[in-house]
Amino acid sequence: MSLIELQDIRRSFTIRTKAGRLRREKREVHAVDGLSFSIDAGECVGYIGPNGAGKSTTIKMLTGILVPSSGRLRVAGVDPARERVRLARRIGVVFGQRTTLWWDLPLRDSYELARRIYRIPDARYRANLDRCIELLDLGGLLDTPVRQLSLGQRMRGDLAAALLHDPQVLYLDEPTIGLDVVSKARVREFLREVNTRQGTTVLLTTHDLVDIEQLCGRVMVIDHGRVVYDGSLDGLHAAGQSERTLVVDLAEAGPAIEVAGARVVKVEGPRQWLAFPAQQSAAPIVAAVAARYPLADLSVREPAIEDVIARMYAEVAIG
């Protein structure tokens, strides 16, 4: 059974803009416009889309702090907006740009508070806290006031705070924003652990596609309040018609070479760039080139997922 289920969810906002001295114009904005998807327990799903695509609106509806205008929504068997408090005990939320920690007090105090808020049984609390301390390397930070933590440390602290009550679902909104490479790697490693070992379902919103490449088996692309892609990351390449590039160094400079199944996109002296569909094998193209031209060297470049997604956003914007 799916843990999160959305059926034709819509959410519109009324925006009032000034039109003249006293007159105000009302305008309907559809932030989410017929969103349907379901997520099974234990999945780790990347939820991406350009700014203003409706990602935050979705997360708000999933946490119950915003009610959909229409449609059916269930999280862990609960209607979020109707049973917000009950749901809150089953979900964990981490916003990269906000904190739930007590700013002026040592990290430990925020955890003690979480223990009371979520009524975590003592044994479970200790076990969970110990695990988080170990995995997130928080041991030396527990007595440090949160305001003195670095962004990466604070983020780790927030992650632990969101997981002490064993939530079934963890929503993450840009958990690696602003972090350095090492901190990002640590956060990702932790999330992988939580997802695979604990079986916690994870819904991850991010602009950093490395997060998704490393964590998510499934990615949903949303734009203008609709899902425009839902599937594996590899499938995104096919859907986005992305291309791989074969870079060949010929023995000497010459005119653009002609090979079936690939086209030359750039020539620079003896070096030429050939593009071909990402799902196609490079071997026949390499063989064809080698058979007809004197080859000095070659390499194959994988398409950057950023490019694929950038193209996808652009296409949707035009279409």
């Binding site: 119950g64 408090v85 089953r90 002026d104 009371r116 049984p121």
Partner: protein
């Protein structure tokens, strides 16, 4: 009351019977609010320099106002029924309560306002804790700290420098502390309403400024309410602000004794409950607005 939901198998396996559960639930809720209040107390105690500066300010103002009152009472002995020692004591006690009861606003209000500005207010909504209860607990923790740091210390200095009329009966002190507690709750009720306007106005700064002036005047902070002439005095006596400074101070000065103590406490309680109830209603509206209209 919210009952803990068994999430994991361990939790559901040995769920106690319903009667037990609700009692445990209430016990847990009590411990939660106590934890919040304790946290708030410690948060305020972290800022030592600010506390010292504030305490010095209260003490200096205590001196200035005490001398002003001395001069006033020299010209008009027995003004408003207070003798000179009572008038000076009034100054020191009201100075002590000024920040504790947050007559001028502040405390949790600054924080809530910040959270409106940053949007963190959304986090408060998905926490499984009652919004009003959370902030009330915070404010009580703060008030407990301020009572010691910004109340007790200046009063001790005042007692060394002036002849104060303080009660010797410990019962009077106990009743006084109770009325201070109710005063904090009533003050919270007022400030909570002001803060909630943030859901509609985005910024409650303007209303806070107005409330500051009203509160300073009608709480008895500027002058004892008894000194206000005619209708204004009658009005001041029934407004909620009288519950903040005037009633606790009059009880400590033993100007309210016997039945008047009880009616004073009853007056405070009624206002505290009315304000809390109004706050609760406003909170429902605000939550609906955010959840339904999208803040």
């Amino acid at each position: 009351m919210e009952i803990p939901v068994g999430l994991g198998p361990e939790n559901g396996a040995h769920a106690p019977d319903t009667g037990q559960l609700s009692r445990d639930g209430r016990w847990d809720t009590g411990r939660l609010y106590l934890a919040i209040a304790k946290g708030a107390f410690r948060r305020y105690s972290t800022y030592r320099a600010a506390t010292v500066a504030g305490t010095v300010t209260n003490t200096v103002f205590g001196f200035i106002l005490a001398y002003t009152f001395l001069a006033l009472w020299q010209a008009r002995p027995g003004l408003g029924g207070y003798d000179t020692a009572q008038a000076v004591t009034y100054i020191w006690i009201s100075q002590s309560l000024l920040v504790t009861v947050a007559v001028w606003g502040g405390g949790f209000q600054d924080e809530v306002q910040d959270r409106f500005r940053t949007g963190d207010i959304a986090i408060d909504l998905y926490r499984p804790v009652d919004f009003q209860g959370w902030w009330l607990a915070t404010d009580l923790g703060r008030a407990a700290f301020h009572l010691v740091a910004r109340g007790l210390l200046p009063t001790l200095v005042g007692a060394l420098a002036f002849h104060l009329r303080l009660p010797t009966d410990p019962l009077v002190w106990a009743v006084f502390l109770l009325t201070v507690l109710i005063a904090v709750v009533a003050s919270f009720g007022l400030r909570f309403l002001v803060s909630l306007t943030g859901f509609w106005l985005h910024d409650s700064e303007g209303i806070r400024a107005v409330m500051l002036v009203v509160a300073m005047f009608f709480s008895g902070m500027l002058l004892p309410i008894g000194l206000f002439p005619g209708r204004l005095g009658e009005l001041a006596h029934v407004l909620p602000w009288a519950a903040l400074i005037q009633i606790p101070t009059d009880i400590l000065l033993e100007r309210r004794t016997g039945g008047a103590v009880l009616t004073g406490i009853a007056f405070q309680l009624v206002w505290a409950l009315v304000l809390l109830a109004a706050g609760r209603a406003a909170q429902l509206l605000a939550t609906r607005k955010v959840v339904v209209q999208g803040g």
